[in-house]
Symmetry: C2
Subunit: 257 residues, 2 copies
């Protein structure tokens, strides 16, 4: 069997612990190319850099592993890898993460980890974003790494329809305490924001975003929030047609001319 | 009737011509509050600013109009307005734009204009993103302004189900040449990127993103790309459940445990 080619990225930056764990569990599967942001680009969603140039820097090169840092967003990293570094080669898998913090529910929209995973799925390759429900810099990624490898093995070994993009969220538990894996749907709910306001040395107000997620369907048991808070790994298959098909007809009656 | 309260934003920055035209056509409808980025934040998608503070600056205040510039992303502008400036007041409408350039098809994912419009729809208020299919800084926004006002009048006068988010794209035509308005679905297709590569004065390579949109269904006549390229205004209703419901069952068989 030809060696597999696997691309990895993240949004916490090229030095993040979660990325290191992802490299560790994926290396036995093939040749690994990593392009990750120079520093943390959390909350960058699907942002791309249009008004300034990008820079690329080789960070590490060993047999079976190439690591680059890119000055742009997570989605820029994907484009830099797949439209420049590894153009024309058959790619087997794209993974993003392992993110420090959950990207379940509506966080999928704000997440740079998932922005990159979604972008990756445009390249005819299975693309998976992994996130651990723990924001701390020194979070324990042991279980998350095991789960990432298990899911990748099953996806690479299965008969999967493309495009494929998965949003995988892993509870903050030791490996033996994880109850199982559940394919589920995105929870409905929004963030209720509150700004932390202080004055800078020049007496000008500055604002820092803070808030809490409000689950609009706390009773539902087929959602990613339910799975995550009940000890299961939540796997949501992602699509990118944002059309609200149910509204096409009623709106057409009001607006078409 | 109580005076309406309307919030406007964009991603081209507080000084953009498209925003000026939007203010002009919306002012007769009520009190206008604008929070827009200090400068262009195109391609910012649903990005939020997490790792640095935000600043807000009053730019203009007249009877019926308040304009602020925010140092953050378009989505930050929405949160700054709705979670800080106008908290607790009944808001009637949110508009984003008028963007310089089309946000049809997959551009909805990359667009800061649409990131802001989508975020706005989380606040129980009709939220509409307007874009003109013309990137030039001095584009002619006359027709786009007329169309924005017509659509807003029909939405405010209609019996509309919330949440409501619309992605409205307007062809680059004089008002009399626009053939009509079509409610339609998001076109399938992706960008094929090519990096423009040059060397900086220190002989280091820099990369600039460039590319072209590849329409995967050029024959379809119910899509936003078809409407736009055939002289119609394209209106796509937007939802934010990214779950690929059709993949839940087959993936569950492979991954659930």
């Amino acid at each position: 069997m030809a060696e597999r080619l696997i691309f990895l990225t993240n949004d916490d930056g090229v030095g993040a612990k979660g990325l290191e764990r992802l490299i560790e569990v994926m290396r036995p599967l093939g040749h690994i190319v990593v392009v990750a942001p120079e520093s943390t680009r959390s909350g960058m969603a699907h942002a791309i850099t249009m008004s300034s140039p990008l820079f690329l820097r080789e960070v590490r090169r060993e047999p079976g592993l190439e690591v680059y840092a890119c000055s742009g967003t997570p989605v820029d990293c994907v484009k830099m890898a797949l439209d420049h570094l590894i153009v024309g080669k058959k790619l087997d898998l794209i993974c993003s993460g392992i993110n420090h913090g959950s990207n379940a529910a509506i966080n999928v929209l704000y997440s740079g980890t998932m922005g990159a995973a979604i972008e990756g799925s445009f390249y005819d390759t299975p693309s998976i974003g992994f996130s651990l429900d723990d924001h701390s810099l020194d979070a324990d990624f042991e279980a998350a790494g095991n789960i990432a490898r298990e899911i990748v093995d099953n996806i690479l070994g299965g008969n999967i329809a493309l495009p494929l993009c998965l949003n995988v969220n892993i509870p903050r538990l030791r490996p033996e305490a994880i109850k199982g894996i559940k394919v589920c749907r995105q929870t409905r709910g929004y963030w209720k924001e509150e700004f932390f306001i202080r004055q800078n040395p020049a007496n000008r107000d500055y604002f820092w975003l803070t808030g809490e997620f409000i689950n609009h369907e706390p009773e539902a048991t087929d959602t990613d929030e339910w799975a995550l808070s009940n000890g299961y790994v939540a796997v949501v298959p992602i699509q990118i047609d944002l059309t609200d098909h149910a509204q096409l007809n009623p709106l057409g009656k009001i607006l078409d001319r």
